[in-house]
C-alpha cells in the first residue's frame, strides 16, 4: 500500500514497444561509495528528472549525449543503438544527434548569437543555414539579438540562445540540465513558461533535469525521481506525489518534517496503526503517532513525513477534535520567511510548523510558550526506509 501506481526499475519493458522510446539502462561508478544504476524508458514529451544535487543527474545526461561512457548498459532511441557495452557499441557524441542545453549554457563567447546557433549547421549550404537560424531566432523570441555576443545578453536571452542552438540541429533527443538554475527568481517563472511553450510540442523525448519543486509542477508530464543513483519513482507528478516513497520524493512533495518511525501496533479494523516516532538516537525523545495503515509489520522501521502546513497549534489544551494526534509541547523559536511564520515546536520530537503572520499575533506566540501540536492521521505520510 506504500505505492500507488508508482513503478520502479522495471518499467522499461512497458514503454519499449513505443516507437519513439528512449531506453536507458546503465551503471556507472561515480565515487568509491556511490554509483548510478538505472533502467528506465521515456517516450516523446517532457520527462522531469528530479533529484538532489550530486545524485548523478548530470552524469546521466552526459552518458545519453555520449560525452561520458557508462561502465555497462544499453542506450537506444527509436531502435537506434547509441551505446551497448555487451556489443561494444559506443557512438561518439558527434554522431548522436542530441540537443543539449548545459547547466552553464556553454555558449561560445567569441561568436555572435547567430554564429553560435549556426555552429552545428556547417553541413548545410549557406542560404539554408541562414534561413534556419533566422527562423529559430524568431521562434525563440529573440529575432533582433543575432549580432550580439553572449556576454551582451541578459540571463533569459542567453538561455533562449542556448536552447535555439540545441534545437536548430533538429535533434532526436533534447537534454536540459537545470536550465533555470542560473536565473534570478523573478525571471525564472517567465522563462519557465516560455520554455514550456517551446518544448511541449516537440515530438522527441525531452529530459529536463531539476532539483526545484516549482519547475516539476510547471513543466512535468512525466516525473522520474533519481535518488542515490537509482530511479526511486516514475509516473505523472500527481501519481508520484500522492504516494511518496523515498526521501527525495518526500522533499519534493514538501515534507519539512521527516522522522524515523517504528511500527508499535496495528489497528486493522480502524485502518490505522500506531508508530513510535522520534530520533533514532534518543530513545527517550519519542512520541506515538497514529498513522494510516500501510503494509508493514510490528517492529518494522519506516520513516514518516509530515508537511509543515498540515500541523496545527493550540495555545490551550484542545478538546473534541477529530484529529487523533494531540501532543503537548512548547514553542522553541519563530522565524519569518516571506509571508509565512516557521515555528519550531518541541513536543517530544521537533516539528516545523507553518503559520500565517496573523496567527502569530492573534495567538500571542512567543518562544517558550506552552502549545499543543495537532496532526491528523492522514497528514502522516509513511515512507520506505
Amino acid at each position: 500500500m506504500l505505492s500507488a501506481r508508482v513503478t520502479d526499475n522495471s518499467s522499461a519493458e512497458q514503454v519499449q514497444s513505443s516507437p519513439d522510446a528512449l531506453t536507458i539502462r546503465l551503471r556507472k561508478k561515480l565515487s568509491s561509495s556511490f554509483g548510478l544504476d538505472v533502467d528506465f524508458a521515456l517516450h516523446r514529451g517532457i520527462t522531469i528528472l528530479f533529484g538532489a544535487s550530486g545524485a548523478g543527474k548530470t552524469t546521466l545526461l552526459d552518458c545519453v549525449a555520449g560525452l561520458r561512457a557508462p561502465d555497462s548498459g544499453h542506450i537506444s532511441i527509436s531502435g537506434r543503438v547509441l551505446f551497448d557495452s555487451e556489443k561494444g557499441v559506443h557512438l561518439p557524441a558527434t554522431h548522436r544527434k542530441v540537443g543539449y542545453v548545459f547547466q552553464d549554457l556553454a555558449l561560445f563567447p567569441h561568436l555572435s548569437v547567430e554564429s553560435n546557433i549556426a555552429y552545428g549547421l556547417s553541413h548545410l549550404a549557406a542560404p539554408e543555414r541562414k534561413q534556419r537560424v533566422e527562423r529559430t531566432l524568431e521562434m525563440m523570441g529573440i529575432p533582433s539579438l543575432g549580432r550580439r555576443r553572449p556576454v551582451q545578453l541578459s540571463g533569459g536571452e542567453r538561455q533562449r540562445a542556448a536552447l535555439a542552438r540545441a534545437l536548430v540541429t533538429d535533434p532526436s533527443i533534447l537534454l536540459l540540465d537545470e536550465p533555470l538554475a542560473a536565473l534570478d527568481l523573478p525571471v525564472r517563472m517567465k522563462i519557465a513558461d516560455d520554455l514550456r511553450r517551446s518544448i511541449q510540442n516537440l515530438r522527441i523525448p525531452v529530459i529536463y533535469v531539476t532539483h526545484n519543486r516549482d519547475e516539476v509542477f510547471m513543466l512535468g508530464e512525466n516525473l522520474t525521481v533519481l535518488e542515490n543513483g537509482k530511479i526511486s519513482a516514475q509516473g505523472t507528478p500527481h501519481e508520484v506525489l500522492s504516494a511518496p516513497r523515498g526521501e527525495t520524493v518526500a522533499q519534493l512533495a514538501g515534507f519539512e518534517n521527516i522522522f524515523d518511525a517504528q511500527v508499535a501496533s496495528i489497528h486493522e479494523e480502524r485502518g490505522t496503526m500506531t508508530c513510535c516516532v522520534g530520533s533514532a538516537r534518543s530513545e527517550s525523545a519519542q512520541v506515538s503517532l497514529e498513522t494510516p495503515l500501510v503494509r508493514a509489520q510490528v517492529g518494522e522501521n519506516l520513516r514518516v513525513g509530515i508537511s509543515a502546513g498540515d500541523v496545527l497549534l493550540a495555545t490551550s489544551a484542545p478538546a473534541g477534535l477529530s484529529a487523533r494526534n494531540v501532543l503537548p509541547g512548547h514553542l522553541l523559536s519563530l522565524s519569518q520567511r516571506d509571508a509565512i511564520i516557521v515555528a519550531r515546536v518541541d513536543c517530544g520530537i521537533e516539528l516545523s510548523v507553518h503559520l500565517t503572520l496573523g496567527t502569530r499575533d492573534s495567538l500571542g506566540l512567543t518562544p517558550g510558550l506552552q502549545v499543543w501540536v495537532i496532526v491528523k492521521t492522514h497528514s502522516c505520510h509513511l515512507l520506505a526506509r
Binding site: 549525449a65 560525452l67 558527434t94 556553454a106 561560445f108 563567447p109 567569441h110 555552429y119 552545428g120
Partner: protein, 224 residues
Amino acid sequence: MDWQAFWLTIRLALTVTGILIVLGFPIAYWMAFSRWRWKFLVEAVVALPIVLPPTVLGFYVLVALGQRSPFGRWWQSMTGHTLAFTFEGLVIGSILYSLPFAVQPLASSLSGIDARLLDASAVLGVSRLRTFFRVLVPLSLSGLVTGVALTFAHTMGEFGVVLMVGGNIPGLTRTLSINIYDQVQDLNYAAANTTALVLVAIAFVLLSLVYSLNRRFWSVWPRN
C-alpha cells in the same frame, strides 16, 4: 652593426618560433586538459630550461649532436658532418632552450577555457580537429601571441647555448649576442653599444606587446 649577424639572429628566432608553436600546441593542450597524477613531473621538465644554466643545456645538446652519440654518428654518416657548429644545430638547441616560453603561456590560456565548450562543440556534431580550430585557437589567441612574442624575444637573446652548440662561426652561427661579446673583447665599445641597443629595442617592443595583451580584458568563458 654586423648585419650578417643581425639577419642570422632574425632567421634563427623566426625558425625556432615557427617550429615551437607547432610543437608547443600539443604539449600545451595536454598540460591544460590532462588530469594525470604525474603531470607535475612533465611540467617540471618543460620548465627546466628556465632555471638551468645555458651551459648545461648547451653541453647536453652538443654531446647529443656530436660524434659521441649514436644520433650524431648517424647524422654524420648521412651528411658528412655532425649537427654541432651548424645553424640547424643551433635551431635544435634553441628549441629546447625556449620551449617553456612557448608552452607555458599557451597552456595557461588553454586551461582558462571551459571544458564544457568542447563538449558543446562535440554534441553539435563538430569533430575534435575542427573544434580545435573553431573554438580552442580563437579562445587561446592571447596565449598564442604571448607565446610567439616571448619565444622570439628569448631566442634572440640566447648566448650560452648558442656559443656552446654553434661555436661562433661568422654567417653560420655568430648571432648578435655573441657578436657583442666579440666586440667587447676587441675593445670596440661603440659597435657593441649599437648592437646592444638594437637588441634592447627589439626586446622592449616584444615585451610591450606581451604585457598589453595580457592586461586587456579577454572574454574567455570562466572555468567552474
